[in-house]
Symmetry: C2
Subunit: 237 residues, 2 copies
């Protein structure tokens, strides 16, 4: 069709999607050029948002003192979390490296201003969380642009958000949606780290697709067949 | 750096990001080839997820009866929403077309199974909403892959999610995160529709970027300068 990208452009988009990784261990200290970081922020800023609300702000963190304090928050939350996993799973949990806060040259907190656009935002009248969901879309735009730039991103979610908000001096209506570690990497791993470590494997896509209602099987045999493979290039694990 | 894509690949990724639109009005009835739809679902399925939880399911809706019922839910919610906007804003609200449920050949509900992976999910111990946020990342993967394929996507958020869940017969632990309209389009508009319609404009990125703490100005002049433009190609409105 007319509006489709060229075959090589399409492949580049899928490459970003399939080769993106959640990076924790491979960060290099190499500084990120300001123009590159700006491109990533432009990418995030061009995410869709409910009512064109653009609820995001971007806190670019490079001060070692702040990073150390965030790392302290992670250590506390991760110590608590580790208690929840027993036996072999608990032992594996403790061996996993789950963040690169200190090593990544840039940390980025993408926030969500829950009051932006006033009391009534178009499209956010039925589902109030649409602002948070919009900010997530900005995260993924940035994550994919970063992969194309050769920059790794890791989302640190083992944090007390209340304490993080205090540390970053966020006003009460601003939520610290995503705390990201960003930097050049020695490599992008061929598969997600949790899969390689044996924590959890990718689910078969065919089991996740339903027709018209929950758990109603697909009547479209061609779609069912197509779900078992990928005809647009290489599909990594 | 070694891991970066080629210049043309990078441009393709940014093109998808900048030329993606939230489509409501330009859907064509042309059927989507099953192999293409499968590629979009693979793209969504390769989103990052907390603890590799992959909380998403995909309900592919093409039954006219279901689409009509969802359109009915939209009409009710949108009637309520319109009351919230007064005067000129209310008049403009009523003129806007906010969904393409019937015209789009495929509707897709991306759900979030809040129990997948058991009671404790790695990385979802401090912030329980991380499963919802992960499913949002799947939405954006699909949205960008669709743009590359020449397929338009619109997120319909003016719906009573409880009623939508009943209609799609979701079990109580499965949340209907995103209701998407998907199809070929006559065109991708050059700018977001809400901007063209005068509802709301894009915010200046420079005002959204802070250094280390909320509203602390950037000390990096090169970054501040780079935020005012985009050196990687064309940046649409």
């Amino acid at each position: 069709m007319d509006n489709a990208f060229s075959s090589s452009e399409r492949q580049a988009v899928y490459r970003a999607i399939f080769e993106r990784r959640d990076v924790r261990s491979q960060f290099l200290p190499t500084a990120i050029p300001p123009a590159l970081l700006a491109r990533l922020l432009h990418a995030a800023h061009h995410a869709p948002s409910v009512g064109f609300m653009q609820p995001w702000d971007f806190i670019v963190i490079d001060a070692p003192a702040i990073k150390q304090q965030v790392k302290g928050l992670f250590d506390v939350a991760n110590g608590d979390a580790a208690q929840l996993f027993a036996g072999e799973q608990g032992a594996l949990y403790r061996r996993l490296k789950l963040q690169g806060i200190i090593e990544a040259p840039i940390n980025l907190c993408i926030t969500c201003d829950r009051q932006r656009g006033g009391p009534h935002v178009l499209g956010r009248t039925s589902i109030l969380e649409m602002d948070l969901f919009s900010a997530c879309l900005a995260v993924q735009n940035l994550w994919l642009a970063a992969r194309a730039e050769g920059i790794g991103v890791g989302w640190v979610s083992i944090l007390d958000n209340q304490k993080l908000a205090e540390l970053l001096q966020l006003p009460p209506h601003v939520y610290p949606l995503a705390y990201l570690c960003i930097g050049y990497v020695s490599e992008f791993l061929p598969a997600p780290e949790l899969a390689s470590a044996g924590w959890r494997q990718r689910l078969p896509l065919t089991e996740l697709v339903h027709a018209n209602r929950w758990q109603q099987p697909l009547s479209d045999d061609a779609l069912a067949a197509a779900l078992t493979g990928f005809d647009g290039g290489v599909l990594p694990p």
